[in-house]
Symmetry: C2
């Protein structure tokens, strides 16, 4: 596709292909397992098995941060694709079925050897907070060769989850995706994913944003404060204002703040009757924002779409919308 | 254990070890796939794959009719065990984790070769009805050698799901379980499972009940009418009254009818604010009834416990209780 042609897709998302295992849990379980509520921890097979044994009966649903965002874009009526790696096993079949059934294009070939499809164990506490324990498995094996440059060129925005910087092999895939987007004159969006993820990859993330390689930045309070090593959210906003990026900063029930240069717009959250499970709130905020952005809406309108999408996903267990999302 | 010793377990359930795949569906999908709403159809791998492709994004939860009943007994505070076959694959791991995490003893060794862990595809329509498409996989491989006679002897009741008569190999396992229960002086319970299942195995079921090999019989209206080839539910009740069995006949929101000889007691259903998914209603009715029976309660009290357990499980998606069940 020549640079500048009208995009056939709204969003192509690049991320870890993961099946979530959700189970109600007591706060005491998190303490006993040494987990920090609301964050994501990476573990190996052995530790995952031990934590799984300590958890109650679960519900399996397809997840993955960027994959959830792609599904959200589709639920808004947008055209979305996902690039990520599963293994040719039962959970890989579940992941592929679910994302395609949600209307997202997913063509990345599954691995035929190596670790199984990635899983994320998610104890959900009574306060609706989710704590994630991820065993990446096959998801860590995404390679540059898996990135379909034509697909990336066809999308208005290429969206990368920060978690993808975790496995050493993933970075080549991200570079390939960013290069393909740039070559086609498309936008690149980055989600910082998690405060510990920012801690692990702060230098790379700063370089990407400082260097103008990212057009759109998604972060929550803890993540943006960590990225800029700021003393407060306000200080972080001031810091972001000096960066060459459009930033959408989420603050949970306090809504979001959109920052572009000196322009700072606060957008309130949608009221929610009962928050059941916050899993996917950030992913769906990104979906709404990206859909608006791809369709040429103003940043504040994009933030409102993000807030509305997030408000739907927190009303039920699981990180993907259960009904079509409204676009106005 | 010598006959007559106090049972260490309330219930040991023998059935298919199955992982359910639930997805919201339109009535039109059932028609297109030729499925009869509210019933269970057995399919092979190829047909299951085609139906799965036609279904929307799913939620995986452990299921299996008798396994759900065992979990229900545990949720009532009873001591329960399950005998059934999974494969040593990802869904088998999910099944084993979930039933153990629910407090049910599950020691049947997984198959190390052959078909994968059984799955049941369940389109759930807007009227909360579930339609089941089962691919038995490894569950069909339960053998007499898998039946731990000591475990059966330790349980007040051995509960058999009618579905177990479907795979030809399963009958030897059932005979072994019934023989072990009888030898220990324990009760045997049979669920007729599904009207089509009754159609397939009517002669065997009649022989079991007529011959006094079953102490407790669970059936819904269509199943008991089918078993007795009766013209109406009332005619079926009259027929059951002549059989040497205590029968608990469920009628959905009309409650249940307990029949023992000439004694017929109708017990109303528990009121439910919103029925979300009827999956598991019959399984949980059996759980409540069996728990009461194992603890020496009167049949009408058993039926009330069954109704209360069923009322909980229809308020959410999935066939297993999401909270401890009340026992009075």
């Amino acid at each position: 596709m020549p640079p500048g042609a009208a995009p056939a897709l709204d969003v192509v998302a690049v991320g870890h292909a993961i099946v979530d295992v959700l189970a109600p849990a007591e706060d005491a379980l998190l303490e006993r397992l040494g987990l920090v509520k609301g964050t994501m921890a990476l573990v190996g097979d052995g530790e995952a098995a031990a934590i799984y044994r300590a958890m109650g009966p679960g519900t399996e649903v397809s997840g993955g941060s960027a994959a959830n965002t792609a599904v959200g874009v589709a639920a808004l009526g947008g055209a979305a694709a996902f690039i990520g790696k599963v293994r040719d096993d039962q959970l890989g079949e579940v992941f592929a079925h679910d994302i395609r059934a949600a209307g997202v294009r997913f063509d990345t070939p599954p691995a035929t050897a190596g670790p199984g499809t990635g899983r994320c164990l998610i104890p959900v506490t009574a306060d609706a907070e989710r704590t994630m324990v991820t065993c990446l498995g096959a998801a860590a094996g995404l390679s540059a060769g898996d990135v379909d440059a034509g697909l990336v060129a066809a999308a208005a925005v290429t969206y990368l989850e920060g978690y993808m910087w975790d496995p050493p092999g993933g970075i080549a895939a991200l570079r390939a995706a960013m290069a393909a987007a740039r070559a086609a004159g498309r936008a690149v969006a980055l989600s910082l994913s998690d405060p510990f993820c920012v801690e692990r990859h702060r230098a790379e993330f700063v370089e990407l944003v400082d260097g103008g390689q990212v057009d759109l930045l998604f972060a929550n309070e803890a993540e943006v404060v960590g990225l800029l090593e700021a003393a407060s959210f306000d200080a972080a906003v001031a810091g972001v204002a000096r960066l060459p990026v459009l930033a959408a900063l989420t603050r949970g029930e306090a809504g979001s703040v959109v920052v572009r240069g000196g322009e700072v717009v606060a957008v309130p959250a949608e009221p929610v009757a009962e928050v059941v499970d916050t899993t996917g709130a950030g992913d769906l905020y990104a979906a709404g924002f990206l859909f608006g952005f791809a369709r040429g809406r103003e940043p504040a309108a994009c933030a409102r779409l993000g807030g509305a999408a997030a408000a739907e996903v927190v009303t039920h267990l699981g990180a993907r919308p259960q009904r079509p999302l409204r676009t106005a």
